[in-house]
Point group: C2
């Protein structure tokens, strides 16, 4: 499986993806699921993928092939993020249709994609693209999307995340969401890829890969466990009527 | 959907179930999913159910009908918790086979069941019973089972719960697991049913129903949100290289 999450906040965009893939429990590998494209000063695009690895790689392959051949539309020719989401959705739908033309089990070949970024002249956008090729857009009410193994890490986002939150706090919150998922589900695994984009910068961030021995992640993982344990200890004890 | 969790700890058993059922988003109702049976001084049995409501009610109906008619084997005639798990599993399998004899979509009619308790002369046991009628048993390494919408509430159990934990702390931990689930998934809903059994007491606890306005649950729900928010604020800020 996979866990990817992306946030579209007032000050910018945050993307975090794990890197574990598994085809059965004895076929586990590390594959990057976070891809960035851009032109300095003009556009920044980040794509995260979850689902069938052959499908996700085919989608990325087609998108990059169009860029290489300078065939339009491509990631650099579309005028808006909305057009970009349409291009990715169209590509995804075509890939799934091609591979499933002779099967009824389409869902085995599904993948979900998050696309976020900014193109000069418009706001930042973040889209969640479905296997059917259609998509939804993040808003200030719902500033985040998750794909893959999303449930373990959702409670902390639901409680703590807000549109106005500074990017460093939002990153903390996302990393704790990942730490919770990593501990509860072995199909999500390190290293993690992180990408943070500052609103209106139109610059390509380098991003960071968090490995098992990354000191900051180790620190917050440990401190968060202590926070939870201490928080539990500080809770008032249940009233006696619970035990009758 | 449903969320039920059950703990088998050194000092006793803890059972918590939600009560929401839904057949589509416009058909939401409150149904009890936690059933207790027992004979003071002789046996205590708690059954929790998740899945198709007609299936779960048929299983409970058959088990109670056997008791009423004094047909053996029944909940009070089995000699051990292992035999009890077998009886429940057998009943569950038979119910599913009857209703799905003319369909290939068996899984629509599935349900999962947790059975815990103690019969005089043996240890406490907790079993997770599958739709196929087979089951697994909780151990001191893995002292808890969840059925239904289990993922949202799993991280806190994985981090904080241990076999040695006193029952009041384990209850706090379970209620926080439920609070996290309730906030992130509308198919799990209040009120909650709680049942706590003290090891070797062989007495029937009355149990407690937690409604929306229950002061203790409101208190820990609010305090837990503050714990998480404060915990996040106390985290060290991410290093600069995350933002490059």
């Amino acid at each position: 499986m996979t866990y990817c999450c992306a946030l579209r906040l007032k000050q910018g965009l945050v993307f975090v993806s794990d890197t574990r893939t598994n085809a059965g429990v004895d076929h586990i590998a590390v594959f990057r699921k976070l891809y960035t494209y851009g032109v300095e000063g003009e556009r920044f695009i980040c794509i995260q993928t979850s689902g069938n690895l052959a499908t996700t790689q085919a989608v990325i392959g087609h998108l990059e092939n169009q860029l290489t051949l300078k065939n339009e539309p491509n990631l650099f020719s579309v005028n808006t993020m909305f057009e970009l989401a349409g291009l990715v959705g169209h590509t995804l739908k075509a890939v799934i249709e091609e591979v499933t033309s002779d099967t009824h089990e389409q869902s085995n070949y599904y993948c979900s994609i998050l696309v976020g970024g900014q193109i000069r002249g418009e706001e930042m956008h973040l889209y969640n693209i479905y296997p059917q090729g259609n998509f939804i857009s993040a808003t200030s009410d719902t500033p985040y999307f998750q794909i893959g193994e999303s449930k373990y890490g959702k409670p902390i986002l639901d409680r703590a995340l807000s549109y106005e939150m500074p990017l460093d706090e939002a990153l903390q919150c996302s990393l704790i969401s990942f730490d919770s998922t990593l501990r509860s589900n072995v199909s999500v695994g390190m290293p993690l890829d992180v990408m943070i984009y500052n609103k209106d910068s139109l610059q390509m961030p380098r991003g960071k890969r968090i490995t098992e021995d990354e000191p900051y992640f180790q620190h917050i993982s440990k401190q968060w466990s202590e926070t939870l344990r201490r928080g539990l200890q500080e809770m008032p004890k249940p009233t006696a009527d619970f035990f009758e």
